[in-house]
Amino acid sequence: MAKNPAPGAAQDSALLLNCYREMLRIRKSEQRLSKLFADSEIPGFIHLSIGQESVPVGISAHLKRDDTVAVTHRGHGQALAKGVPLAGFFAEMMGRDTGICRGRGGSMHIADAGVGMLGANGIVGGGIAIAVGSALAHQLAGAGNLAVCYFGDGALAEGVFHECINLAALWSLPVLFACENNGWGEFSRTDTQFCGSLEKLGAAFGIGYRCADGLDVLAVHATAADLVAGIRATSRPMILECKVERFHGHYEGDPQKYRDPEELKALEAKDPLAKAHAKLLALGLEATLLEALAAEIDDEIEAAVAAARAAEVPQFAAAKADVYAS
């Protein structure tokens, strides 16, 4: 693959390439969503995770299919990284009957039981207890699985998070609390909303804590490796905080008047994907290979979009008849 592989770099490079591919798949999917949204092909609210891809990619690399995750309103990347298929994903966003949730859920309610993705959430902090409950299920089942509970820095202010870290520590539940800290909750800086230290909070409950540069996928990957292995070995909960940046607005269409234009501009230099790209080239990968990879992803996405466009919209009667399971 690489031109002049430095000794030992082959492994690094293969790993980074894998991560890069996943990140690019998420990035391009969201960029496509952004366009579809602008073109009114996707309605409602969507919250893009552009700039935050490293986190779920770095974590999911260590997850098994039966490990569970609960994801946030900004959870497209978290969902795709866990294995939600693109076709069902796009069809869902576009409100089609072929959507992974048959068009009933939308961006904030993607779920895929088949890959352990328990659901995105429209409620800040709404997935935390669900993830912890799945960790309880893993503990009861005893098959060595674990749960990942994604949440944003804004969710730190919700009481249920604190109830859950206590419970997880008390019952030694195998759960990774993964905070994507982008410094913002909607239009407010999180430091104007929450004044606790997540590290110290963990310490107050005897929960191990690690922080990783969420703009560096290998950093997340390495830290998550330690934590996931630790959780599997000890069945103790752990906290992973990743400092990231929110590149787009809170929701698509958010003019972000509340943000300093300088700060927004400075983001460009921080793009985790660009960083990974540069590093891959530095490691000796061919640019053409990366371009081919991008083209492959583009094709996959366009196929998903085309299929969704061609798909039926859901029938109301079928939806109405399916409020209860039978």
Binding site: T68, G119, G133, L167
Partner: protein
Amino acid sequence: METIRFGQAIGKALGDAMRADPRVFLLGEDIGAAGGPFGVTRGLHKEFGAARVRDFPISEAALVGTALGAALCGWKPVAEIMFMDFCTLAMDNLVNQAAKAHFMFGGQSAVPLVVRTPHGGGLNAGAQHSQCLEAWFAHVPGLTVLCPATPADAYGLLRSAIASPNPVVFVENKSLYARKGGIEADPQPIPIGEARLVREGTDVTVVTYGASVYAAEAAVRKAAEEGIDLEIVDLRSLQPWDEKTVLASLAKTHRLVIFHEAVEAFGIGAEIAARMADVGFDELDAPIVRVGAPFMPVPYSPALEREYLPNEDKLMAAVRRVLL
């Protein structure tokens, strides 16, 4: 036919369900060795151990949320919220999460979750330990709401609730826990959504549920003294509720009184009345009258709570009104 207390019937249903299915487990505050504040789970901790009868911290939101997470993974948790008033702390998990998961995720997920909780007054427990909030849950698509009156129904409906792939709010009137009733030697699940005809009668249909069933039964004799023959329907299941049975009864008596302990305004009775004023309109020979609690918080003083609670005298006044 044996005799069993209402609370024991619930404990028996829990135990039988746990014996029958290893995926059933219990979570709640002080339900373990202590057996729960009303003794309902007594003995279960000893038999099934701490892994399946789990004492939960005083964290109602996390209680329902973790139960939901486990349910989404195929387990069958039965969570206890110690008083229905405390459901206020778990509404997100009940309403936004559990109730919607099946529908919202396109039918992928079953949610075999039961939340047991006691409602009702009469213990002078005050405004935050006595409420009947079942109408809230009946208004939430995706939830099933049950409220049995007899030990046999408590047993049979709880078995159905635990077997259900949908989230169930199982409401127990706390004044019933000590009440005795008959139960079969090998009791079976009772289907959700079917009312129980407590008593056949010809003059007035009384639709009721929970502890109020007994006050309705107490009114039968008083009514008879006045030459009035009451038919009593115990809904048992509030969401879904048995419109067919109520309508059939109304078609017979042409007079309807709805009777419950919950606050009358915007309570369960409102929906029953509204439906009957629509689909049952042609059968009605008199106004539909509801008897529920007055529009006030549950008061503490016995002098006040006694007057607050619906009783057979208030029911009889309504019965007389529909016969005017």
